[in-house]
Assembly symmetry: C2
Homo-oligomer: 109 residues x 2
């Protein structure tokens, strides 16, 4: 409580709620810059139709921890999330930075 640090495995699995409090998904993992050790973005897993799972990248700075609800709040709607980059394939290589470069407005880089 009140600490400045959080364990990586406590972040993984934490829900993400949107602008109006609706659940956007769950943080599946964090993508870290190997050199600096800084989180580039969180991979948020979201339920889709026919039980498919979409994965969306969200920059760390867009996520604010909500201690009362034990979730992260992101200031965007489900529609905005879905209009951004996403990936269906579970084996997608999130380490590929070229994706971020193709979508600079969304990834916040």
């Amino acid at each position: 409580m009140g600490h400045s640090l959080v364990p990586s495995d406590r972040v993984e699995g934490t829900p993400v709620h949107g602008h109006s409090g609706e659940k956007l998904g769950t943080i599946e993992r964090l993508m870290l810059d190997k050199m600096s050790g800084t989180v580039a973005y969180a991979v948020v897993k979201s339920g889709g139709v026919f039980d498919t799972r979409y994965r969306y990248p969200l920059p760390w700075h867009t996520l604010r921890y909500n201690a009362a609800r034990q979730c992260y709040d992101a200031d965007l709607t489900l529609e905005e999330l879905r209009s951004g980059p996403c990936e269906l394939d579970d084996t997608f290589d999130w380490g590929d930075r070229s994706l971020a470069q193709a979508r600079p407005h969304y990834w916040g880089v």
Copy 2:
């Protein structure tokens, strides 16, 4: 391969080898600064006597990924690791930064 990013859940569970190639332990989790999203240190779990598990904090910048051995290399010996701060209790609150302040020479802060 050759990417600048690594998933947090791939770092967790990765072995850490020491100065002479000896195994120091395994990365259990990463402690992240909530605001900046930067790794403060890795918590390295190491086997002890009578199946106890010691946990040691190692700053991110001390760990270099060794692709050939699929481990992280740290430029210290098992003796140096063991002479640093450690914790036996599984429920120890690693988020408490005051520990780091008490041992600045070791934690690299």
